[in-house]
Amino acid sequence: MMLFGFPITGETVAFFMLALIIITSGVFLMTLRNVMHMALALGGVFLGVAGIFVILGADFVGVVQVMIYAGAITILMVFSLMLTHSGNKAEEGPEVGAVRGIATFVGVAIVVGAILLVIRHTSWPVSPTAMQPYHQSTVLLIADALFHTYTIQFELVSAILTTALVGAVIIARKEEQ
């Protein structure tokens, strides 16, 4: 039994289901009118991607994806939608002119098609021993990499977060005066 050219295993089924969830949510996100529904679809995309990470053996990254994207960022988005939208107002008319919309769509489709072609026709050098998922706790591996190989980057993240925090507070609080 094959599914799109891949043997049916739990992994394959899970992948295609998740892909379906991601792409449907993504399409919904682009077509829905109500911004709150969009936020919900966004959550779907993020959760799907988290599932993909888990399939790829990156359980820690997957959980982080749920925690930060599906949890925190979605809530931040919802809050800012509440701040900037009065629900009774109808959503602002058509997004862009139909011509421009179709043109953009065609353009994007061509780009994506090209990328897909490249992906299909590149012979990716795959190691015979694909990274065995979970033979060791990924958290430990990540910690090791973070605190030995990527020390500087790690500290930079902290600096960026602080900067973002301070900057966002400054910008958002301006009205108080």
């Binding site: 739990g10 899970a14 888990v54 359980d59 820690f60 982080v64 925690m67 930060i68 949890g71 925190a72 960022i73 809530i75 931040l76 809050f79 800012s80 509440m82 701040l83 900037t84 939208h85 009065s86 629900g87 009774n88 998922p133 979970y134 706790s137 958290v139 430990l140 990540i142 910690a143 090791d144 973070l146 605190f147 020390t151 790690f154 500290e155 993240v157 902290s158 600096a159 977060l161 602080t162 973002a164 925090l165 301070v166 966002a168 507070v169 958002a172 609080r173 009205e175």
Partner: protein, 120 residues
């Protein structure tokens, strides 16, 4: 296999979806009456007709809390691998993390000083 654990979680999740969907979509219409009337579907506002719309714009304060939450959530995410590997990392890891936390505490203190944390 370790990945079986995720299958188990998935089963839980599926049951978690099935239960409300089953109760609300399948069982519900069979058991529940459904006679909506105008008065019944009116929004509750202490027994009076609601004045104005509920979906007003809210205070920016809520956004600021969400903002702080996002930033600190990210911090926690980096704290966890550190905590797990703490014994292996030793003093160097500790110092690294102290710097990391210190930088973020500066942000927190800044927000504190800017009265973001006040709820007026």
């Amino acid at each position: 296999m370790y990945s079986n654990n995720f299958v188990f979680v998935l089963i839980f999740m599926a049951l978690g979806v099935l239960l409300p969907v089953g109760a609300l979509v399948v069982l519900g219409p069979l058991l529940r009456p459904n006679h909506p009337t105008r008065a019944k579907t009116t929004t509750y506002e202490s027994g009076l007709e609601p004045i104005g719309d509920a979906r007003i714009r809210f205070n920016v304060r809520y956004y600021l809390f969400a903002l702080l939450f996002v930033i600190f959530d990210v911090e926690i995410v980096f704290l966890y691998p550190w905590a797990v590997a703490y014994h292996a990392l030793g003093v160097f890891g500790f110092v690294e993390m102290v710097i990391f936390i210190a930088l973020l505490v500066i942000g927190l203190v800044y927000a504190w000083k800017k009265k973001v944390l006040e709820w007026k």
